[in-house]
Subunit: 423 residues, 2 copies
């Protein structure tokens, strides 16, 4: 029987040990994980367990897309091994000193970056997340308690055993990575209330999971990975940028959180811009849900398609996660800002040649990332130069946008005196 | 009737305006608040409301200490005005740019410090907190929704009207500071679930309030202001530091969160140290709850007092908030670290002359602030050079230790390109 109190206590102790472990030893454990993922013998158990999950998933009638996401192969494990080695090469944030100062009374103070301690991660039916999360937690000195989707319980357990073997081989505490391998959903609620031992909860999944965590947790939760993204084409835009940026933001990977949902176009350039955008997106199979003004412009340009439909109010402020784009003509910057203030918080872009307009947009838009003349798809840890990411936060506490190694740490104050007492 | 959705919506709109307000205008509003607090006419309503709260409190049989904390006088208002002017003089964190970089692909990225938006603050029967909190939120560009203890509802409402008058005078939106002036406790629960409009909850009060917020909130909560603090006297200590540091940490202000709770002394210096410590503290009226070894040492030194009592296990890991100290002799650094790992998370100090021992202590102790040869009383925003503080956090997300102006902000990513799309 899964005893979460016991798991938490062991994770806390392992985390304390991991916090004091030098970078080289952590990297050795990461290398050991990668080597095992590339070794047919040590992967056999993982592949067997995964085959059992996949077979059970097929019997349960899971969709082919879900079955594909669940499936591990030697090739996929090799790709995960490469990611693990990449994490080993990233700089270790732990121990960094910052905000150092000598106060007037002679006290020497600084802040020192330290791991959180124990991180709980709840995710869906993607076994690769087990390794992603474990390696990022390990590198940042955090113990992890993992809980994957019930469809992949066997895969998660086998992958965790592989990780634990590699940890032990590198002389690190195996309890630093533990998995809840019982599909009982009540255990998720217990994990969310394990505030005595767990410092932080990171949900990775859809809106329902995030809402559930927010409702039930007594532990701080990083919510994110969800958001309505906008591109606003200003009257001052370099129109040659519009089609490439909109295409990239909408078409490249429509099912991710930084994909474009709504295009806003300044009235002054709408007739000139929208036909080219529509032709490009229609050719890529995008459904356009357009306001009346856009509809008239497209009709006047002789563009007709079943994939052009009149937008309803429900088509704005919605994350499509699919090849669908809502389009609206606006009177200018202010109307665009009002629209984005109402619906945006993730990734929003302006296309403009005017520096003052760009700055006004950047200042006013309150989203995790604001883009000028660039695709919203860059809101990603690797793309922004952080290496891997464990989540993309749309909440405001601690981290906004990509959550990478540094954001998996906290700090403590260090104050050194010579017998100082407070006056 | 109090409509929290409506308050939240108005706070959100006011917060958006405040986020774009230049520093000078915010400082002018702070000066206007200070001027009103110093003006007998504009304070009359506040003093009348407070007198009504105090009279009702006396009728309800509140303790003299609580009545004193509730009471406002022209002198106290003048002190609050001075604090308000101090906040006006602090640097404005909003707009600061950091982590700037030009990526390989030419994208120019930086992070920009921005207000959270709307902060909810729940506090107890201290009307001065109304001004403290409102001024710190105002300076950091955040709208605030305040909820003071039910004993001071009239005082909070009157102080909020004074603030709103000053805001309007400075051309700022009065909705940026609102108070819930209905004592119905259900409204606190509603505030804790107003995640659509409120970005952050800061409770200021005892353990019960913090626990309540953690349980009920769907909004991130900063918990803190509570903690068991330790001083460990190592065998390498400069013993002349021990009495002054322990005295300061325990006696100066025993009812605050950074006051000392437990003294740990290395066995090798226990006989030499503990009698002097005990004599000093007993002379200041401190009750000593001591382990057997300490008891024997004090007896051997001829120190007898009714205020020396044998410690029970419950005397360790407890925040006394009073002139009580638990004392334990330990075998060395490891035993001290184990004790602190079990009970500490707020402020812990070592007294030592050995740099390696100090560093080992600093590394291993996982508390918001770790002190070497200094009193735990320095874990305070003003003492650590941050100016005023709105809370002292013992959680790990976003802020640890003093939460001052900078910690009342978040950031957004700003990414500038020339038509960049993700490859």
């Amino acid at each position: 029987m899964t005893n979460l109190m016991d798991m938490g206590m062991r994770a806390r102790a392992a985390g304390r040990q991991l916090a004091l472990t030098p970078t080289g030893r952590k990297n050795a454990a990461l290398e050991a994980i990668a080597a095992m993922l590339l070794d047919a013998t040590s992967c056999a158990e993982v592949l067997d367990a995964n085959a059992a999950d996949v077979a059970a998933g097929r019997d349960a009638g899971l969709s082919p897309a879900l079955i594909d996401r669940m499936t591990l192969t030697p090739q996929r494990l090799a790709a995960i091994a490469a990611d693990t080695r990449m994490v080993a090469r990233l700089p270790d944030p732990v121990g960094e000193r910052f905000d150092a100062a000598v106060l007037e009374n002679g006290l020497r103070v600084h802040k020192r970056r330290v791991p959180f301690g124990v991180v709980g991660v709840i995710y869906e039916a993607r076994p690769n997340v087990t390794i992603d999360v474990a390696t990022l937690c390990l590198k940042s000195g955090n113990a992890a308690i993992l809980r994957g989707g019930k469809e992949i319980t066997r895969s998660c357990a086998a992958l965790t055993r592989l990780i634990q073997g590699a940890m032990a081989q590198a002389g690190l505490p195996a309890d630093a990575v533990q998995v809840i391998d019982d599909p009982d959903r009540a255990l998720v609620e217990q994990l969310l209330r394990l505030d005595r031992y767990v410092d932080l909860i990171i949900p990775r999944g859809g809106a329902g999971l995030h809402q559930f965590c927010r409702e039930k947790a007594t532990i701080p939760v990083i919510t994110g990975g969800i958001g309505v993204c906008h591109v606003y084409v200003d009257q001052t835009a370099d129109l040659t940028m519009v089609v490439p940026i909109v295409h990239n933001a909408k078409v490249q990977r429509p099912a991710v959180c930084n994909a474009l949902d709504t295009l806003l176009v300044h009235r002054a350039v709408a007739a000139e811009t929208l036909p080219a955008v529509a032709r490009d997106l229609l050719a890529s199979g995008v459904e356009l849900r357009v306001d009346e003004e856009t509809l008239a412009i497209l009709r006047a340009a002789g563009i007709a398609s079943d994939a052009i439909v009149p937008a309803t109010p429900d088509d704005f402020g919605v994350e499509f996660m699919a090849l669908i784009l809502s389009v609206r003509v606006v009177a200018g910057l202010d109307e665009a800002l009002e629209h984005i203030a109402r619906y945006g918080d993730h990734s929003d872009a302006i296309i403009t040649r005017d520096a003052a307009t760009a700055e006004a947009f950047v200042q006013a838009v309150d989203s995790s990332a604001v883009f000028v003349n660039a695709s919203t798809r860059f809101n990603d840890g690797a793309q922004l130069g952080l290496g891997a990411e464990i989540a993309v936060s749309t909440q405001k506490l601690h981290v906004r946008g990509p959550m990478a190694l540094r954001e998996l740490t906290t700090y403590k104050w260090v104050v050194e005196g010579d017998g100082h007492v407070r006056p």
